[in-house]
Every structure is written in C-alpha cells, then in structure tokens.
C-alpha cells in the first residue's frame, strides 16, 4: 500500500509488474490524469490537460475514483513551429482538435495535452 507521500515512481513500479495489456513500461512514458473527457466533442481548440504526480484527492463519481492513463506509441512526432521544435510521444485526432502528448510544461498557450 502506498503512503500519502507516494508519487508517480511507485505507481510506475506497480504497473511495470503487471502482465499482458495491463503492463505499462517506462518506454511507454505513461502520464496520469485526474480528468479526461469521455466524448470526442469535448476536445476542442482550447483543450489542455496536465498530468498529475500525486494521486490524493482524485475526483470521484458516485462509486469510484478514476485516473486516466495515456501512453506513448513507438516512434515520436516532431513538430516545428517558427524557430522552435518539440518532440511528442503520441498524437490523437478526435473530432475538432489534434491532441499531442508531450512533456510537462509549466506554462503554455498551446492547446496541447501534455
């Protein structure tokens, strides 16, 4: 059982020990989110989600707490804009947006899922 001070490293350790589809490796670079929309329409230009590193106080529905997990796929997506460039581990295209999974940023106006 993890303690109050438990962070992502311990959760990663647990997931790395699963078998089959539940196993998540370090190379998959999982990010954990307290809340992600369950409908395509909710992902719009202004959508942004930041991963969590602590797992206390997760939002609760009537029965359970939920934590959403996104992983990288093999290979990376490189995106250049102006003088800058970034690497992303995954990309999704719901109806009205292109969602990129990258590294954590402290501040950004881009509608990227980080």
């Amino acid at each position: 059982m993890l303690s109050e001070s438990s962070k992502t490293a311990e959760v990663l350790w647990n997931f790395s020990r699963f078998k089959d589809e539940k196993r998540i490796t370090l190379k998959q670079n999982p990010h954990f989110y307290k809340c992600l929309p369950r409908s395509k329409e909710a992902y719009r230009n202004d959508f942004r989600g930041d991963p969590v590193e602590r797992f206390l106080d997760t939002p609760k529905d009537a029965r359970t707490s939920e934590i959403y997990v996104l992983t990288d796929r093999p290979g990376q997506v490189y995106l250049e804009y102006g003088q800058n460039a970034r690497a992303f581990g995954n990309v999704w295209l719901p109806e009205h947006a292109i969602i990129f999974k990258g590294s954590c940023l402290t501040s950004s106006n881009l509608p990227f899922l980080t």
């Binding site: 059982m1 109050e4 992902y43 490189y78 969602i99 501040s107």
Partner: protein, 164 residues
Amino acid sequence: MTSNDIHPMPRSDDSFLIGSALELVDDALKSATEVEKKTTKQVDEKFEAATNALSRYEEDCRGRDPVPDHRRANTVRERMTTAKEKDKSSSNKLNAMKETLRMTVSVAHAILPSAHTCPQPNPDGWSKPTEVVKFLIFKSLPDDAPVVVNRERQLGLFGVDSSI
C-alpha cells in the same frame, strides 16, 4: 510561451540512447517480476546492463551540459548502490517488523478472548476502510473500451496493491 517552456527536440542519437536504455530497464524489471523474490544471476546481469546504458546516456548529457561539482547530482550508478543498500536495510527492518507484529497478535489473542473485534492485521499493516480507484488506460482519445485496472486505496491515502 517562452523558449524556456519548450521541450527541446532531442538529437536522434539521444532518442536512440534513452530509448534503448529504457528498454533495458523495462526488460530488467520484467525479469525481476518473473522470478519474484528470488535473485538470479540473469536478472542481476540485466540490471547491470540497464545501469550501464543509463550511465552512458548520463555521461553523454553531462558532457554537453556540465554543472559545477558542488551542484552535481548523484549518478545513476551511485543511486543504484544506495538503493541496493537501502533495500537490504528495508528487508531487514521489514522482517523484524513482521516478527514483532506476529508476537503482538499472539499476545492479543492470549489476552483478549474477543480479539476478533479488534482491527485485524493484513500483509500491509492493520486493516482500514478502503475504496476502489479505477485506472483507465486509454489507447485512443477518447477510448470507449479502455483497459481498466482496479486498485484499492485506504481512505485518505492513495494505495496501489503492491502484491501484484
């Protein structure tokens, strides 16, 4: 957005180095899980290979971005050595605690005929109220059928069943 906010695009050899290093770490962790609590020479070798790969990546990065020695963080190898010592120490402490707990429970049963009304010990300590946390692993965004991993957590604390 400032340039400091931007995650730099890694060099192609960086991606290869860190990618192959993480693969070795994942492989070592998988092997360690498969043999469970037994130690084997093969698992030790895999951890050694993973440590070497991470050290190579670390040395490559340090060569490009040197930091003053007084600010130097522990190297991967130093951290592994510390972790091994800590692990050995933790195992000894855990065994001592288990022995103490076993004795305490025996005494409680001897003193209290109705000891079953007290909180009961479990492998992680004394039983406490828990709730279910669902980890939903999305393969697409959104995902109508995510892989669901149910874990228990103690109320007020986050807990992942470590007895996987």
